[in-house]
């Protein structure tokens, strides 16, 4: 490497103004959440949720309602805590030893973080779809049938067959795989795998489905199919979706919540958030000034 390059690297960057705006440069004063974090007919009510990873606070005082049969999108820059918040809703954070959750999270007005609440039962009511498609290394049929089997949802083989078929139809996958239900689920394409994971989740008929960036590993066509699916699923389920794509949030959700550095900045109707955000930070994020 020649000297000029070295000098350039060693030179302290004085031109902060030209780099993307950071928290320091913006001089943010965090205020209470703007918009309408509360809603009528709430499925989930969360109040003053704080999450810590050891000594590191990942979520600060988030209070948010999630209405029944709505699709709510959680958006925000990477590391803003939206996935962590999502994983609080079905206690998936329990698996991380150093993670501690404070505050109230109520599902149908019952606190899910009490000794009395069984996480297994909770997760049967609140299903989850992960960022990376993670089908079991089993057949397509067994993937979908696994949940109903462990929970004992069906009485006999034919009922189970019907349930598997129905779930695959709902997930929009049945036509593509009906001839090879015994083929391994891992042999499907990425988009098909993700729809298989959704079918697997809806097979246990949860009340809420949490989706953690379900389309981030997929191409645009597969993404479009997933979004279409979400639109159909909202008839029967409450859906919380974390996404990095603002277009996706705009397309699938009724409400949008914007997270920033572990804080809930703004919540509102999706149309209003994307056309007329109230908070400075929200506006900067959706116009692509940082993130």
């Amino acid at each position: 490497m020649n000297e000029a390059v070295f000098n350039k690297l060693a030179e302290p960057t004085m031109k902060i103004k030209s780099t993307p705006e950071t928290e320091d440069s913006l001089n943010i004063k965090y205020t209470a959440t703007v918009g309408q974090p509360q809603c009528e007919n709430a499925k989930f009510i969360t109040r003053n949720v704080n999450v810590f990873y050891a000594d590191n606070q990942a979520i600060h005082d988030v209070s948010l309602d999630i209405g029944a049969h709505e699709v709510i999108a959680l958006i925000g820059p990477s590391g803003c805590g939206k996935s962590t918040y999502l994983r609080c809703l079905n206690r998936m954070n329990d698996t991380i030893d150093i993670c501690k959750v404070e505050g109230q999270i109520l599902l149908d007005n019952e606190n899910i973080y009490t000794k009395k609440q069984d996480p297994v039962l909770l997760r049967a009511r609140v299903g989850m779809v992960f960022q990376k498609p993670n089908p079991f290394p089993k057949s397509i049929y067994d993937n979908v049938a696994y949940g109903p089997r462990i929970h004992g949802l069906t009485k006999n083989k034919s009922e189970l067959d019907d349930l598997v078929e129905e779930s695959l139809i709902k997930a929009g996958l049945f036509q593509e795989v009906k001839d090879r239900l015994q083929a391994p689920g891992t042999g499907l394409s990425g988009g098909q795998q993700q729809r298989l994971c959704i079918a697997r989740t809806i097979a246990i008929q949860p009340e809420v489905i949490l989706m953690d960036e379900p389309a981030s590993a997929l191409d645009p066509i597969a993404t479009a199919k997933i979004e279409e699916l979400i639109n159909e699923l909202k008839e029967n389920f409450t859906i919380v979706i974390v996404t990095h794509s603002m277009q996706q949030a705009a397309r699938v959700s009724q409400r949008t919540a914007y997270f920033h550095m572990g804080r809930l900045i703004e919540v509102g109707d999706t149309d209003q958030i994307f056309t007329n955000p109230s908070h400075d930070l929200t506006e900067k994020y959706i116009t692509g000034r940082f993130g």
Partner: protein, 424 residues
């Protein structure tokens, strides 16, 4: 000078380094293969004679009067009869010129001590043979065997030769008469140890090893896999668990003879378990195998992608269900490989078993895990220690059998890994 030139300048040196490293690697592999070939050829060449056996065909008259028994006697009487007499008569009939007592004794040693048992078993199998005269191929003595196989050089002067001229002339006479034959040594695989090289077999040691390994597997596999699952999936992360982990790793490094001393002190002296028995050997070896399987199983479980656990938990599976339905099947190839490697280690282990008395000279073939027995590596050790010439080839043959079992176990490990391996 621009960057392209700078890169070009260094390229030659980089490629040279790569070349040097590659040739060093090839050299190392060639050396390793060479040593392996040397070992295998040496053992095979030495062992081959052990797989054939020399036999002497004699016309023997199984006379009930000579045996001092009556026709249609029960088996017990047949068992007690002295069949040596008729074999001796047959030898004398073949060589009528032998008269003196000393020469006769020399003549009688042409056939093996096992010949009378051979004849006895034939008669017990078919009592109608009593009173008949028939040709039987008797097992030859180890000296005759050595002469026929060429390990005793006939051209040496008599004083340097183990087999004297007189005996050699009998052997030559028998040979020219077509009464000496050679066949596959089934006896080696169907009988236990013996003081006579031609009668010594490996079956006792094979079964002893089998029983020992069965006990080892039955004890160490469930314990080790449970320990690995608990430590990996359920155990809290604290200092106590760290301490246990360190100790398991240390256990893997303990010299094996220490386990033998422990077995002697605890299982034999304190719990009064039988000496020389596969059950004690199995317990001692499972102590030794445990850390190997635990370490292999833990790394196999650790290698299962966390997304699989999350998927199961997200569907409402309990921790236990997620482990047993998904993590364990995915980790099974690694666990099985580790187990079989541990078993192979146990199969080749000698030192701890010396301590618990499995080094005893045992002729009987063990029928259960509490019968006294020996194991393959100790059989090798015992035969290598014996002065008789015939045991030299037996030693190499026993090593071949041991290696065969080791290779078979490794092949099974590879097969199982391929079979249970799933992609995700």
């Amino acid at each position: 000078m621009n960057n392209t030139d700078l890169v070009k300048q260094g390229l030659k040196k980089r490629y040279l380094k790569e070349l040097i490293f590659k040739s060093m690697g090839i050299f190392s592999i060639v050396i390793a293969i060479l040593f392996l070939l040397m070992l295998l050829t040496d053992i095979t060449i030495k062992a081959l004679p052990a797989f054939s056996q020399t036999k002497i065909e004699l016309e023997v008259q199984i006379d009930a009067d000579r045996l001092n028994i009556e026709a249609n006697s029960p088996n017990e009487v047949l068992m007690a009869a002295d069949f040596r007499l008729v074999i001796r008569d047959a030898l004398l009939k073949r060589f009528p010129e032998v008269k003196s007592r000393k020469d006769k004794r020399e003549l009688y040693s042409l056939t093996s001590m096992g010949a009378e048992y051979q004849l006895r078993d034939m008669v017990i199998d078919d009592p109608n043979l009593l009173g008949q005269t028939l040709k039987v191929k008797f097992m030859a003595d180890d000296d005759v065997d050595a002469v026929i196989k060429g390990s005793i050089d006939r051209s040496l002067p008599e004083s340097d030769r183990r087999v004297k001229d007189q005996k050699l002339s009998w052997i030559t006479a028998l040979e020219s008469n077509g009464q000496i034959s050679s066949g596959f040594n089934w006896h080696f695989f169907s009988s236990g140890d013996s003081r006579e090289p031609e009668m010594a077999g490996i079956k006792g040691a094979i079964l002893g090893s089998l029983y020992t390994l069965l006990v080892t597997l039955a004890l160490s596999f469930p314990v080790a896999v449970s320990a690995a699952i608990y430590l990996e999936e359920f155990a809290p992360k604290n200092r106590f668990i760290d301490f246990i982990e360190i100790n398991i790793n240390n256990l893997a490094a303990v010299p094996s003879i220490v386990f033998g001393l422990l077995g002697l002190a605890v299982f034999i002296n304190f719990f009064s378990l039988p000496r020389s028995a596969p059950v004690v050997g199995g317990i001692v070896l499972s102590l030794m195998t445990l850390p190997t399987i635990i370490i292999a199983s833990r790394s196999a479980i650790k290698a299962v992608p966390p997304s699989l656990r999350e998927a199961a938990l997200g569907l409402g599976a309990s921790k236990m269900q997620s482990v047993f339905h998904h993590v364990l099947p995915a980790a099974l190839p690694g666990i099985l490989t580790g187990t079989i490697i541990g078993m192979a280690q146990a199969l080749g282990e000698t030192a701890p078993l010396l301590m618990i008395g499995m080094v005893a000279f045992i002729v009987d073939i063990p029928q259960s895990v509490v019968d006294p027995s020996t194991v393959l590596p100790i059989q090798v050790f015992l035969w290598a220690d014996s002065p008789e010439r015939g045991f030299l080839e037996k030693t190499s043959a026993a090593i071949m059998v041991l290696l065969f079992f080791l290779i078979a176990m490794n092949a099974i490990a590879i097969y199982l890994r391929k079979k249970f391996e799933k992609k995700w």
